[in-house]
Amino acid sequence: MNPSVETLRRAFGKSIERALVSCGQTIVYVDRQRLREVLEWLRDSADEEYDYLVDLTAVEYRDPERPLEVVYQLRSLKRGAELRVKVELDKDQPLDIDSVVPLWWAADWLEREVYDMFGINFREHPDLRRLLMWETYAEGFPLRKDFPLRGRFSRAEQVRQALAANPESHYSMEELSVAQAQYDLPADMRERLERGERGRVPEPKVQDDG
C-alpha cells in the first residue's frame, strides 16, 4: 500500500474512505465534496508531489447498484510514485463533481471526454462541451451501461439527422461569436445566432429494426 494513503488519512480524516491494492497499485476513495482539496494537497504538498495527472476517466460497473466512479491516475515524476484516486457518484443523485482543470490543464479534454461519454458534469470546467461526439448529439452517453452497443437511434434515423443537421452547428458558439462581431456572417445566420439558436436537434423517432 502506497504510504501516501496514511498521510492522506492524517490530513483529511474521514474524507478519505476505503483504500485497497489491486495488481500492486494503490487505490484510494475520496469524498467527492473534498476531492479538489485532496488532489491539490497531493499535488503541492512537499512530501507527496503528485505533479502529473496521467489519466482521468470514469467507470460504470455492470452491477447497476454500484455507483459510478471517477478515476484520477496520479504520478509523482520526481518520486516515481503512483496513486489512483477515486470518487464515487451515486446514480440517484446528480452526477456532479468539481473540475480539476484549475489544478491541471491536462484535465481539460479528459473531463470533456468523461462528460461526453458518461454524462458527468464537472463544475467550474471552463468549456464543458462534448469532445468526441458532436455537440448536438442526442442519443445520450455512449459509455454508460444502459447505452446499447449499436446506439439508441437506428442507422436510418442517424442518417436522417445527419442530413437534416445545420452545417453552422458544427462551429461552437464561441467560435461563431468571433465572426459575428465582425459582421462576416450572412444576415439571417447572424440573426439566428443572436437569438441563441443552434443547429436544431431533430426529435428522435422510435427505433425500428434499422
Binding site: C23, W105, A179, Q182
Partner: protein, 429 residues
C-alpha cells in the same frame, strides 16, 4: 560558349558552437510584433476553418483558427471524426479479442499497441511470459517506435516544406514494414501479441534481415540529419516555435518526445521499466527549449537509441518456448487438442468462454512512439472487461495545441501541429 559559373549560395547556415551543436537562432524571432507596427491590421479578426480533410492536419483533425492578420489568436481543435467507440467495443470482447482493436488506434505503430494490451491483461491475470517472448516484444516495440518516428519525420518535413526526407524515411519505413509483414502477415493490422505470448514466432531469416536494417538505417538518419539539422530554413521554421516549458508540459500532461523536448527526463522505459528495459543500455534524449526543433532532435536521437536497443535484443535473443506454459490462456497445440481430452477441454473453454481475469483493475503503460500509452482495465471476474480505457498520448498532446500555437504565425501553426506527432485513430478511438 558562356563560362560555367558556380554560384555559392550562402543560406546563412549557422555554424557550430564550442560543443559542436548548431548555434540557435534566438527565441522570439518568429513572433514579430505586427500589432505595434501595423495598428490598422489589428481591427479585424478572421475565422478560418482548417480541415477535417486537409493534408497538414494528419488525419481528420479540424481546427478553427481565429486570425489577426497572419497571427493566430486562438485555435479551437475539433476531434471525433474518426470515433469508433473502441472502448465501448472492448467491453463486449474477450481480452484477446481486443487486440485487433488496438491495431486500429495508433495505426502507425500497431505492434507496440498489441504488446501493451497483452501486457496489461497479463498483469491483471498475473501471468509471466517467457524470456524469448519478452525479447521479441522489445523488438516489436522498438520497430514500432522507429516507424512511428519515420512517418512523423517525413510528414513534418513536408509540412514545413522539405520534400526529400519524406522519400528517404518512407523507404526505410518500408523495410520495417517488410519485416513486420514477414512476422505477422500484415503490414498494418498486425495483431501480433496474445495474452501470455505471441501470435507467432519470428520467421526464418528475420534476425538476419533485422541486422541488415540496423546497419543500413543509421546512415539514412545521418543523411536526413545533414539535410535538416543545420539547414537555415529548417532552423528558422522550427526554433522557438511552439515552446513549452517543463512545468507547462507536466501541467498539460504531455508525454513522450513532447515532454522530453521540454527538458523533463521522463521515459516510461526508464522510470517504470517493463519488458526488462532496465537491462538494456540506452539513453533517453532530452531537449532544452521545448520547441519544434527540440522535438525534432529528440525524435531523431530516439530512433538511434532504438537501433541500439534492437541490436542488444538481437544479441541476447534466447531460444526456448515462445508462449507461457499456462493452459488457461495459451491454446494447446492443434495436434494435442485433437487427440488429448484435457487439451481439448482447455481449447474449448478458451475459445468459447475466453480467459477469465480475477476481480481487480490495472493501469499499465508503455512508452510508445507518441508518448505514454496506457491501458486501464477494470475486471469484475468475467472474461470481458468492465471498462477498457485507452490513455492516448496523442490526445493529451494535441490538447495543448491552442496553448502552443497562440501568438504564432499561421504557417507556424502547421509546423507546431506537425511536431506533436498525432494519429487520429488514437485520439478519436
Amino acid at each position: 560558349m558562356a563560362e560555367k559559373r558556380t554560384v555559392e549560395l550562402d543560406l546563412a547556415t549557422p555554424g557550430l558552437d564550442a560543443q559542436g551543436r548548431p548555434i540557435r537562432v534566438p527565441l522570439g524571432v518568429a513572433d514579430p510584433d505586427v500589432m505595434d507596427r501595423e495598428p490598422e491590421l489589428t481591427a479585424e479578426h478572421m475565422l478560418l476553418n482548417v480541415g477535417p480533410q486537409h493534408p497538414a492536419t494528419h488525419g481528420v483533425l479540424r481546427l478553427v483558427v481565429e486570425l489577426d492578420g497572419e497571427i493566430v489568436r486562438r485555435v479551437v481543435p475539433h476531434i471525433g471524426y474518426l470515433h469508433s467507440g473502441f472502448e465501448k467495443l472492448g467491453e463486449y470482447r474477450h481480452y484477446n479479442q481486443i487486440i485487433p482493436l488496438t491495431d486500429r488506434t495508433d495505426y502507425l505503430a500497431p505492434m507496440a499497441n498489441n504488446v501493451a494490451l497483452a501486457m496489461a491483461a497479463e498483469q491483471l491475470m498475473g501471468i509471466e511470459v517467457t524470456e524469448r517472448c519478452t525479447v521479441l516484444r522489445v523488438i516489436a516495440c522498438e520497430l514500432s517506435r522507429i516507424i512511428s518516428h519515420l512517418v512523423w519525420l517525413g510528414t513534418t518535413a513536408i509540412d514545413i516544406g522539405a520534400f526529400t526526407p519524406f522519400l528517404w524515411t518512407f523507404q526505410e519505413r518500408e523495410k520495417v514494414y517488410n519485416l513486420q509483414e514477414a512476422w505477422t502477415g500484415a503490414r498494418l493490422t498486425t495483431s501480433l501479441a496474445r495474452v501470455g505470448g505471441m501470435m507467432a514466432d519470428i520467421p526464418d531469416g528475420f534476425e538476419r534481415d533485422l541486422r541488415t536494417f540496423c546497419k543500413g538505417f543509421p546512415p539514412v538518419l545521418d543523411e536526413v540529419d545533414r539535410l535538416l539539422t543545420r539547414n537555415a530554413i529548417w532552423i528558422g521554421r522550427t526554433q522557438g516555435i511552439g515552446p513549452m516549458t517543463g512545468a507547462e508540459a507536466i501541467n498539460y500532461g504531455l508525454s513522450g518526445p513532447m515532454l522530453r523536448a521540454s527538458g523533463v527526463a521522463y521515459d516510461v522505459r526508464k522510470d517504470r521499466p517493463y519488458l526488462d528495459y532496465e537491462t538494456y543500455d540506452f539513453d533517453i534524449a532530452i531537449g532544452e527549449h521545448g520547441d519544434v526543433y527540440d522535438r525534432y532532435l529528440v525524435r531523431m536521437e530516439e530512433m538511434r537509441q532504438s537501433v541500439r536497443i534492437l541490436e542488444q535484443a538481437l544479441d541476447r535473443l534466447p531460444g526456448g518456448p515462445l508462449n507461457a506454459a499456462d493452459p488457461r490462456v495459451i491454446l494447446p497445440p492443434k495436434a494435442s487438442a485433437m487427440s488429448d481430452m484435457e487439451a481439448m477441454i482447455f481449447h474449448f473453454k478458451q475459445v468459447m468462454e475466453g480467459v477469465r481475469a480475477p476481480v481487480g483493475e490495472v493501469y499499465f503503460a508503455i512508452e510508445n512512439g507518441k508518448g505514454e500509452l496506457g491501458y486501464y482495465f477494470v475486471s469484475d471476474g468475467t472474461a470481458k472487461p468492465v471498462r477498457w480505457r485507452i490513455r492516448p498520448p496523442s490526445l493529451l498532446n494535441i490538447a495543448a495545441l491552442p496553448k502552443m500555437a497562440e501568438g504564432h504565425l499561421f504557417a507556424d501553426l502547421i509546423a507546431i501541429n506537425a511536431s506533436i506527432d498525432i494519429v487520429m485513430g488514437e485520439i478519436d478511438r
